[in-house]
Symmetry: C2
Subunit: 350 residues, 2 copies
Amino acid sequence: MAQNQKITINDIAQRTGLSKGTVDRVLHNRGEVSRKSYDRVMEVIRELGYEPNVYASLLAKGKKHLVAVLIPTHEPGSFWELAASGIDKPADPVTAVGLETVLFQYDQYDIESFRAACAKVLEANPSGVVLAPLFQGETEAVTRQFVERGIPYCFIDSRPDSNGYLAYFGMPLYKSGYLCADQLTGGRDIPGALIVRVRRDRYQQSDPTVNRRAGFLDYMLENAPGCKIDNVFIDPNDPDGIDAILDGYFAEHPDVKHIVMFNSRIHLLVPWLTAHPDPERRVVGFDNLKANMEALRAGTVSVLIGQRPDEQVRLAVEALAEHAILGKTPDRKDQFMHMDILTRYNVEDY
Amino acid sequence: MAQNQKITINDIAQRTGLSKGTVDRVLHNRGEVSRKSYDRVMEVIRELGYEPNVYASLLAKGKKHLVAVLIPTHEPGSFWELAASGIDKPADPVTAVGLETVLFQYDQYDIESFRAACAKVLEANPSGVVLAPLFQGETEAVTRQFVERGIPYCFIDSRPDSNGYLAYFGMPLYKSGYLCADQLTGGRDIPGALIVRVRRDRYQQSDPTVNRRAGFLDYMLENAPGCKIDNVFIDPNDPDGIDAILDGYFAEHPDVKHIVMFNSRIHLLVPWLTAHPDPERRVVGFDNLKANMEALRAGTVSVLIGQRPDEQVRLAVEALAEHAILGKTPDRKDQFMHMDILTRYNVEDY
DNA sequence: ATGAAAGCGCTAACAA
DNA sequence: TTGTTAGCGCTTTCAT
């Protein structure tokens, strides 16, 4: 074990015969230092194994770091509520080190509200921002501003094709469809499966489920070639309509049992599923919304695939904090989250 | 938004007409303060919404916090290696805040080495220690010493019946057996299943797998009553013996396909499984050892149930750090980890 | 290009 | 019981 006498800038100032000020200047590449002094300082730093004391530094600059989290407003029980809950999770010692996180929200169906939120974020002049790229064009616009102002940012949930972000935290979408298919079929060929989709007006939003669907279909092609796959569209705001649509479909296709949805709304089917129990049926959906987990416990949904949205924001915030405070850059830019398989037997401690 | 002018102990000193010293005393309940002053200070603190500045505090006391992690030596690819890898995971800002973690190891089959490691831990006088309670009696002994010396400690992996620990991070063992059974059977009745066990000499160690086995058997009783369940014992150090035992068993029981192991050693069966492929067979094991994950990818093992041992130690270290630095106590003492279901389709990003 | 010095907010030792 | 004071290690003017 090496001697643990922390060595300070004073030590290295003495050793070099220079002053703390100069040492500090080289430490932060702040210029105004002669080539010679610079080299000498660097040498001694290495020699003595100097490591800066973060508290002292933070204390001296007296700066609070603020990271902004820019996500849609969350109705209770929604996906974005889960995500938002991650904002307070960064390990307390971290926040204790002078990190403040602020939530900026917008209506995910209203591009104007997104613009407004972006403006507020810029105003707050944060040390970093984490955002979900729901509106493609606008996202490009803000991130360009971030870059201009030297504000690092992280994407969560999904990731545009741009390149200036510090890191991305999210599920591998195509693969998640694959996994989903495997859970639905149990690895066996099945007669048929119904994909329930939400009719979306296109709010200029990107749809992350298309990749997922692609993965699903590819799996089926390879592993369950005999399976007939149908699509049906529902309106989230019309519960009766949902029942009617499902009734209609299954009346015509009594051989089909299995059901899958690629967004987080599998809970919309619970009333119908409850009314039409079938031990043979497998139902697979995504995301650990409260209502979805209820359905899992009740047995109406067989499997849920989770991606820990709260972890995504936690990790993103931490990455930004490390960047701001310690100047570190994550080793991998794209950090894919593990896809959690949830059944009634392991929901409890999720 | 409230005004963000950080208020300091100076402010509250002025407001009360007392000195920083006195304020500091009440802040830390260090006594030597008159009832009256105490009350007044508290009042003003509340009134002004004072919050201490952690950096300043840390800087002033100049104390590095050390947390000791006391776990078995890890051979490469073992369970404890995974656990050990969590030691460096606490978010960097945390370690930056002055946390040092040190690993203390012992031979899990040698109680003397455990005693020695404990002695060293005590010697290091850490601010906290995380340990796995492998040796029951000895664990009681050390923890008693921890309590005496006011050193908080966390258990990981499993948890004795004592009560003085700060927190426990681990898998719910009984439930994990239940989940395991469900994954093995796929929710259907099956003709038979073979439990492969490791013959353990009793090193005075507690065996965490007994609860798991109990959960498994209960599930089977309830949900697969027709299933014949057999046990077979292998010696980890005798690969040929393993093959022989499995050959022997399956020769006699051609109707049985499924195999399960309750410890982390399912990878021991890979040679035999590879030599005897069977698309109908399901094989379920525990823990994401490298060898196990390989088997999953190769398709010889169907499902692995993971508990993120690295997360367990990370969380334990963080809990201890929060306690030491911030004086916080975790809200829940027993923090059960989620049980991860791993298949070939979601191992990749684990 | 470099040095000197005044803090950042808090702690702890010592006086009073 | 309370006040005073000298730092903790680093940053940041302001001189030089």
